[in-house]
């Protein structure tokens, strides 16, 4: 189980899976099948990039029936405090043990741009609410019949302004036990982030580095111009420019990066562009 493995200090591998856009889960199960036994848990997204999909609670439930340990994403965008709490109770009832909390991309980024943005709570408040549910009390102070035992995590960029670091500290103070970061490409810069968190007094927090395996120069350019908090270094982009096999180079670079990160952080989180077809190979090449 991922919680135990992460807390024991072993290098932990998670991978992102998106629920289907529709009711057919066969594609999602096939995708998960590609990484079965290669990862410790699958992280199931919640209307990722504000694009409407099947709920992560249902997708996590289907995946756990197939033997996967899951981390359910939960954003603040689509649900008020009533819906968030009932979702969390439902998740606990279905045996989901881990949640990853985030604000959520704004609705105008996705495929229902006219949707009403909720943001009744922010991620700090949501983490605090999960801590309350774990203590058997809801946000209004009512006692629960049966409490949750959720292992909650938060997300973070790796280049933080002073005010962003303050927020990260509040997330940890509110009950985040692990942090999954935005995609990392530079291990050196990433260790500065780790130092920043440690220097702020958070030595025990488990940090999992986000990994987006690049496929081509085009994917690198796309990430640099479209994804907040992502910076693919120029030398990586240059290596693609002079490569005759960008696919193989992307796999090699991701594996090298993971190998470098093994001594630095608690684990890696693989977020491929497209499918997980290369994930197993990358992990094997990284010696995992």
């Amino acid at each position: 189980m991922i919680r135990e493995k992460l807390l024991s200090g072993k290098f932990t591998i998670t991978a992102e899976i998106s629920p289907p856009k529709g009711t057919d889960i066969s594609g999602m199960m096939k995708e998960a099948g590609m990484i079965k036994d290669a990862v410790d848990a699958v992280c199931v997204t919640d209307n990722q990039r504000a694009v409407m999909r099947m709920s992560p609670i249902a997708a996590c439930s289907a995946l756990s029936q197939e033997g996967f340990d899951t981390i359910m994403h939960l954003t603040c965008r689509d649900r008020n405090r009533l819906a968030l709490q009932s979702e969390l109770l439902g998740a606990a009832g279905l045996g989901i043990k881990n949640v990853l909390v985030m604000s959520g991309d704004y609705p105008t980024k996705g495929d229902h741009p006219g949707a009403k943005p909720v943001y009744d709570l922010d991620s700090v408040q949501l983490l605090g609410m999960i801590s309350r549910l774990n203590n058997g009390i809801d946000l209004s102070g009512n006692r629960l019949e049966g409490k949750t035992d959720l292992f909650a995590g938060a997300v973070s960029n790796t280049e933080l302004t002073e005010v962003a670091l303050m927020k990260l500290e509040k997330k940890i103070n509110s009950g985040a036990r692990f942090i999954i970061t935005q995609a990392v490409f530079d291990a050196g810069k990433f260790s500065e982030f780790i130092d920043q968190v440690h220097d702020a007094g958070w030595k025990k927090i488990k940090i999992i580095a986000g990994i987006i395996p690049l496929r081509s120069r085009k994917t690198a350019d796309f990430l640099n111009s479209n994804i907040a908090g992502v910076k693919v270094p120029d030398d990586m982009i240059r290596r693609f420019a002079s490569s005759s096999d960008p696919g193989a180079l992307g796999i090699e670079m991701a594996a090298d990066l993971i190998r470098e990160l093994r001594g630095i952080c608690g684990g890696v989180h693989i977020m491929p562009i497209g499918t997980h077809e290369n994930t197993r190979k990358i992990l094997e090449m990284a010696g995992l």
């Binding site: 603040c76 965008r77 405090r81 985030m102 604000s103 991309d105 704004y106 105008t108 980024k109 943005p117 943001y119 009744d120 709570l121 922010d122 991620s123 700090v124 408040q125 605090g128 946000l139 997300v155 973070s156 960029n157 302004t161 002073e162 005010v163 962003a164 303050m166 927020k167 500290e169 509040k170 103070n173 509110s174 935005q182 907040a228 908090g229």
Partner: protein, 206 residues
């Protein structure tokens, strides 16, 4: 000040079925934003006329949302009686007040956006989120409910790129709040965990 935006003229034209129209501007917020003062009312009159509507008259009330008596308005603007419909160039508050007293079809010419202000001749948007429990002092006098796209109370989301909000052209307000609190020597306010808003405060009270 209520911040509004001019509707597209073709959308206004599409909504008004009636032929004989009287235009009402507003001398307060709408006039200050050059959206409902005399110039804009006359321009609207010209455009409606050009589009085949019969504009029977127009006026700019001192404030569309603050009418002492509709009879007074009628006395001063007897042409309103000739109109089948009124086009009101004010915020939703003004349109609503006029609708409640004028026994005619009333149409809005503006879209109401936010509660803002004008400072040193610059119109500023979204200065207040109208949450019903003002604690703006905690944030250095900068309202995160009004100015943060996601209404966050504990700091920025991860979506800003180089200080720009992920949603639109605005800057991430959390950088401003941070700078302001730092200059005031009150950064400890930013370190506190702020609890969710009590939205029941927005209900009517006696």
């Amino acid at each position: 000040m209520i911040i509004s935006r001019q509707k597209e003229f073709r959308d206004i034209l599409k909504t008004i079925e009636q032929q004989n129209i009287f235009i009402i501007g507003c001398g307060k917020c709408a006039a200050k934003q050059h959206l409902g003062g005399e110039t804009e009312v006359l321009e609207m009159k010209r455009k409606l006329g050009k589009s085949g509507k019969n504009v029977v008259g127009c006026t700019v009330l001192s404030s569309a949302c603050n009418i002492a008596s509709w009879d007074d308005v009628l006395t001063q603007n007897p042409d309103i009686k000739k109109a089948e419909a009124l086009l009101v160039m004010s915020c939703g508050g003004g349109v609503s007040i006029i609708s409640s007293v004028a026994e005619k079809a009333v149409y809005p010419a503006l879209d109401t956006e936010s509660l803002g202000g004008v400072c040193r001749d610059t119109t500023v948007l979204e200065q207040c989120g109208m949450c019903g429990e003002c604690d703006i002092w905690i944030f250095g006098g900068i309202c995160p409910i009004g100015q943060c796209s996601k209404n966050m109370l504990n700091g920025p989301c991860g979506g800003a790129v180089e200080g720009k909000c992920e949603v639109d052209e605005r800057k991430c307000v959390w950088d401003e709040i941070h700078t302001k609190l730092k200059s005031l020597g009150r950064l400890e306010l930013l370190k506190e965990i702020h609890h969710p808003k009590d939205h029941s405060k927005k209900r009517r009270r006696k």
